[in-house]
């Protein structure tokens, strides 16, 4: 047996690639790979860059990329470390102080900030209360900005002076927006913003006073990570690091779902492309049976024959991947260009990683899906040169499916899909395939009887499907998979958008109200009712701290940095309610109305906190409330929608059980536009009440959701394009056989119309069957995905029943276009083949 030197084999592979390319042999495979890599790269870039953009947005909520906060100043080493790494730095000190004017006093929350604050986002202010706001840098030394409600409460004018401690500051502007003022709804009094240089002169900050120091940092992700690692070990007990990733629950939820969706869409596109690659690689191999038999005959070893084609395919794969990556990169640029008005800010370029990952994905898909058919080439018996009917022994099923599943596993790992999604998808897909494939096979076998009475065009069209039911079922499953992936992505898109829309309807609460005194409660409720048709109920709030669970001190029970740890470190807002609040769902236990009274009061605990504290129904909790200890027994666990902008509580007590405790009331409401005057009057009528505007936060969230929604829609387009490309690739794979058949039928006297009718029947039926499979499969997989991955409620989707029609039209149309060469094949071909 001849062993060829590797270099010569390489050169031969290269020459063959050129020849095959010139002969148009590789078009389909090349195209399938380009589509796979382009889709994967474009979605990768899009996802990564959008994620970066959204992280930037999330950074705004921090005012920085990273914040080191504590109740004492950061050590000089901690600050120097960051500066030496080249990070941008700003400093903020927050404290409560009584603001004095000549006539009046008001408790305010003061923020003293260095000139570089904020590092992300911008401050906005107005020249007069309730006038149009403008972005710009903060107050200069000697100046102060205050919120409009402080102007109202103290009857101040622009130009007046206020006393902060022993320092007199002149009010120059009305503060309307601080990017990092979110999440701290419960401790807020009107804000005064001053320059950090004036802080010492106030004399307010003394050792032991309650002050929050925040060191703000901005820089490259890698540098920030390095900084975080360098200071992590020396962190004091009072110090905490926050990053954009964990800065905000609302954004976190939206981001998380969007990212999972984008990854899922990539997976769908890659799956589709994988099918295309498998189909065209099988064709590539089948068309090389003769050549490979000849090479074996001429003395090339089996090993070298296999290597020759592997090299050829690898070169093709690399070229196609590069082209695909370039195309994908260009496509996402086009996409961002289209979105330029919406995404006003600079979007980070995304680096080379998505392109590299796209190329790797293409090569992995090529290996996983093309290796089995290629392996057959090594086994072509040389005798085939004499007997063309001799086919290579087909590769064993475990090799075919094993490599494909391994490749898929690798790709999923790359997308870092979590195990639940992956299993739900793969498990659901497998289950759907087995179930639906079996049904389809039975159906096809059943149709055989009907065939005898059908017209010639139907018999010709269906003949192919029915003679090889297994192959037809496979084809329908492949097309079904395409439709399923597209339908699923469309379904999830709609569902996500609806969920977000529900989460932030136009009349979502844009104001929070805190500190309503019990004596004012009814009067206040009346005023709110007159002002807004969308107000939440007034909830009593009693600050209390959880101290023990079943007699054990709670500090020993929780791990550091867990949600439970954060919850017990500070006072919780305890409330009581007769009815389960809107947007809360019981996940365990019962609400008061459904159970008998017990010796200790019942408490309903938020489910995630309960999980973090390892609470079970019936556990005894002890709280200190206003110096007294109160016991309660866990009677139910609730899921809470934190994104709802409604007052939400970790702990809800049974009514009348916190009687006599010092309670204030809180609520939220939607203030219709143009009623700002009434809001000022409300603030004047109830001076003790804290009114908190969250309009800016809402607007910011809405803009993020708009970005995500658009992304979701564009990604759907990519998946659609990939699906269509696959459809054509699949048809191309059977084109040779169809051209031969078409030519023969023409030679025997069949008119074009007959061929057209036969094709229509075949592809229409194939498409309808695929659509039906897709509809059933989509319901199955979506039920699993909703339950395990997206926390969405699943309901049947009757509209999926249009899928068979869509399938018939899509596969039928694409089938006719994709095989038009077979319709127009010259009957002379049959003679040439002879």
């Amino acid at each position: 047996m001849m062993r060829m030197p590797k270099a010569r084999l390489f050169a031969l592979a290269y020459r063959q690639l050129l020849r095959d390319a010139r002969a148009g042999e590789l078009r389909v495979l090349f195209f399938a790979l380009v589509v796979a890599v382009a889709a994967s790269t474009a979605i990768g870039y899009f996802g990564a860059r959008l994620n970066d953009a959204m992280l930037l947005r999330a950074s705004e909520f921090l005012g920085a990329d990273m914040v080191l906060s504590g109740s004492a100043p950061a050590s000089p080493e901690q600050i120097d470390d960051g500066k030496q790494l080249g990070l941008d730095h700003a400093q903020v000190v927050e404290f409560s102080s009584v603001i004095a004017t000549d006539q009046d006093l008001q408790l305010a929350s003061v923020k003293a900030a260095s000139s570089s604050y904020p590092l992300r986002g911008t401050l906005r202010s107005a020249a007069q209360p309730y006038e149009a706001e403008q972005p710009g840098p903060g107050p200069a030394p000697g100046e102060a900005w205050a919120e409009a409600r402080l102007f109202a409460a103290l009857d101040l004018q622009i130009g007046d002076s206020i006393e902060v401690g022993s320092k007199l500051l002149r009010l120059t502007r009305v503060l309307t927006y601080e990017p990092d003022r979110v999440g701290d709804f419960y401790s807020l009094t009107p804000r005064v913003l001053m320059h950090l240089d004036d802080l010492a002169a106030t004399g307010v900050v003394q050792p032991g006073s309650r002050v929050r120091y925040r060191e703000l940092w901005r820089g490259e992700t890698a540098t920030l990570t390095a900084y975080q690692q360098s200071i992590q070990a020396g962190l004091q007990a009072h110090q905490r690091i926050e990053t954009a990733n964990d800065s905000n629950r609302q954004i976190g939820g939206a981001l998380g779902r969007a990212e999972r969706y984008l990854n899922l869409a990539s997976l769908a596109a890659i799956l589709l492309a994988g099918v295309a690659v498998a189909l065209s690689a099988a064709r590539f191999a089948a068309r090389r049976f003769d050549a490979s038999a000849l090479l074996r005959c001429l003395g090339l070893s089996r090993h070298d024959t296999l290597l020759l084609y592997t090299l050829q395919l690898a070169m093709l794969g690399l070229l196609a991947s590069l082209a695909g990556a370039l195309l994908g990169w260009a496509a996402q640029h086009g996409l961002f260009f289209l979105l330029r008005d919406l995404l006003a800010q600079e979007i980070p370029p995304g680096g080379v990683w998505p392109a590299a990952a796209g190329i790797a994905t293409g090569l992995v898909a090529l290996t996983g899906f093309a290796l089995p058919p290629l392996a057959a080439l090594g086994r072509v018996p040389p005798l085939r040169v004499l007997r063309r009917d001799m086919l290579p022994v087909p590769p064993s099923a475990w090799l075919v499916y094993g490599t494909a599943i391994f490749a898929l596993g690798l790709i999923m790992w790359r997308l870092s899909l979590d195990l639940k999604i992956t299993l739900a998808l793969l498990g659901g897909g497998l289950l759907a395939t087995l179930l639906l494939g079996g049904l389809l096979l039975l159906g096809l076998k059943g149709m055989r009887r009907l065939l005898a009475g059908a017209s010639l065009s139907w018999r010709l069209g269906l003949g192919q499907l029915l003679r090889h039911p297994l192959a037809a079922a496979g084809q329908a499953l492949a097309f079904g998979l395409i439709l399923l992936a597209m339908a699923l992505i469309a379904l999830l898109r709609g569902e996500l958008l609806d969920t977000w829309q529900d989460q932030l309807p136009d009349d979502a609460p844009n104001h929070f109200v805190l500190n309503v005194l019990p004596a004012e409660k009814d009067a206040f409720a009346e005023r709110i009712a007159a002002l807004s048709s969308h107000a939440a109920p007034l909830y009593p709030v009693v600050p209390g701290r959880l101290i023990s669970i079943n007699g054990e001190p709670v500090r020993q029970l929780v791990s550091k940095e867990s949600q439970g740890e954060r919850a017990i470190r500070r006072d919780l807002s305890l409330t009581w309610a007769a009815d389960l609040p809107k947007d809360n769902h019981l996940v365990a236990g019962q609400w008061w109305t459904e159970q008998e009274a017990t010796d200790v009061p019942g408490v309903s605990v938020e489910a995630e906190l309960a999980e973090s504290l390892q609470l079970k129904l019936g556990d005894r909790l002890s709280f200190t409330i206003g110096g007294l200890t109160r016991e309660a027994s866990v009677t139910s666990l609730r899921e809470v929608n934190w994104d709802s902008f409604q007052p939400n509580f970790y702990m809800i007590f049974e009514p009348d059980t916190l009687e006599g405790m010092p309670a204030t009331y809180m609520t939220s409401f939607h203030l219709p536009p143009g009623k700002e005057r009434e809001l000022v009057e409300l603030a004047r009528a109830f001076p003790s009440v804290t009114l908190l505007q969250v309009e800016a936060l809402l607007a910011q969230l809405r803009s993020i959701l708009a970005q995500v929604s658009l992304a979701v829609e564009y990604v759907l387009l990519f998946v659609l394009a990939a699906g269509l490309a696959v459809l054509f690739a699949g048809l191309q794979a059977t084109l040779d056989e169809r051209i031969r058949q078409g030519a023969l039928l023409r030679a025997l006297g069949a008119e074009r119309r007959l061929l057209l009718r036969a094709r229509r029947a075949e592809f229409g039926l194939l498409g309808a069957a695929s659509g039906l499979l897709a509809a059933l499969g989509c319901e199955l997989v979506s039920a699993l995905l909703y339950h395990y991955a997206f926390d969405l409620r699943w309901q049947p989707h009757p509209w999926l029943l249009v899928l068979p029609l869509i399938g018939a039209l899509l596969v039928g149309g694409a089938g006719l276009i994709g095989t038009r060469r077979a319709l127009n094949a010259s009957p002379l071909t049959v003679l040439r083949e002879s």
Binding site: L745, G749, A750, S834
Partner: protein
């Protein structure tokens, strides 16, 4: 117009090539009466198959005309030529050209159905019996040997009772013994049904069984013989 079933005059076929136009058939004329048989012989590339394609209406000449069963083929579009083929022509190919997705019976029924015949099944069954495959009606091409496949092809060729049967190297893919058997069948059926036969072959013995023979070289007729 003569009473010939097949009448070809001054046929020329020119194809474009890298070096300009290439003539692959030049100035060829021939007439065949009903029941006549003609062998076209020549080496590979001599233009045999091109001529067969033109005579059967599978292709059109660059110049010259073909009348098949009274139809001037050049004046018809491809669908109209297909109809002429369905009504008047049968084919036997070297590589059998059966449809893999149809069984033996259905392959034979195909031209009958294209012709809209209601007795397709009965006739196809009878013909398959005639070629000795009465027991293999529901077998698919893959399940048949080469000789058996070519016999199915013969049955298909005669099924629609064509006026002219075109056979392109009908024994080219078969061993001597099987080839001889298929040849016998071909000529028997031809005699029985009075079909006009046009046979392309390079097998001189097979050619000699036809009434007439023309020899091609480089696209030109270089000899014509008539059997004694």
């Amino acid at each position: 117009m003569s009473g010939n079933i097949l009448d070809a005059r001054n046929l020329n076929k020119v194809v474009p090539s890298a070096e300009g136009e290439l003539s692959i058939l030049a100035d060829l004329s021939l007439q065949l009466a009903k029941g006549d048989s003609l062998a076209i012989v020549g080496t590979s590339g001599s233009g045999k198959s091109t001529l067969l394609g033109l005579l059967a209406g599978l292709d059109l000449p660059s110049s010259g005309e073909v009348h098949l069963a009274g139809h001037a083929l050049a004046a018809l579009d491809e669908d109209q030529r297909a109809r002429v083929r369905a009504e008047h022509v049968g084919f036997v190919f070297q590589s059998f050209q059966l449809l893999d997705s149809l069984n033996a019976l259905e392959n034979v029924m195909l031209p009958l159905e294209l012709d809209g015949r209601r007795d397709a099944r009965e006739r196809a069954t009878e013909l398959l019996g005639r070629v000795g495959l009465g027991e293999r009606l529901t077998h698919y091409p893959r399940q048949l040997s080469g000789g058996e496949q070519q016999r199915v092809a013969l049955a298909r060729a005669f099924a629609a009772e064509p006026d002219v049967l075109f056979a392109d190297e009908p024994t080219g893919n078969l061993d001597t013994h099987t080839g001889a058997h298929v040849t016998e069948l071909l000529f028997e059926l031809n005699r029985e049904r009075g079909t006009t036969l046009v046979l392309v072959t390079h097998d001189e013995r097979l050619a000699k069984r036809c009434h007439r023979m023309i020899r091609l070289e480089g696209g030109r007729q270089i000899a014509a013989e008539t059997a004694e």
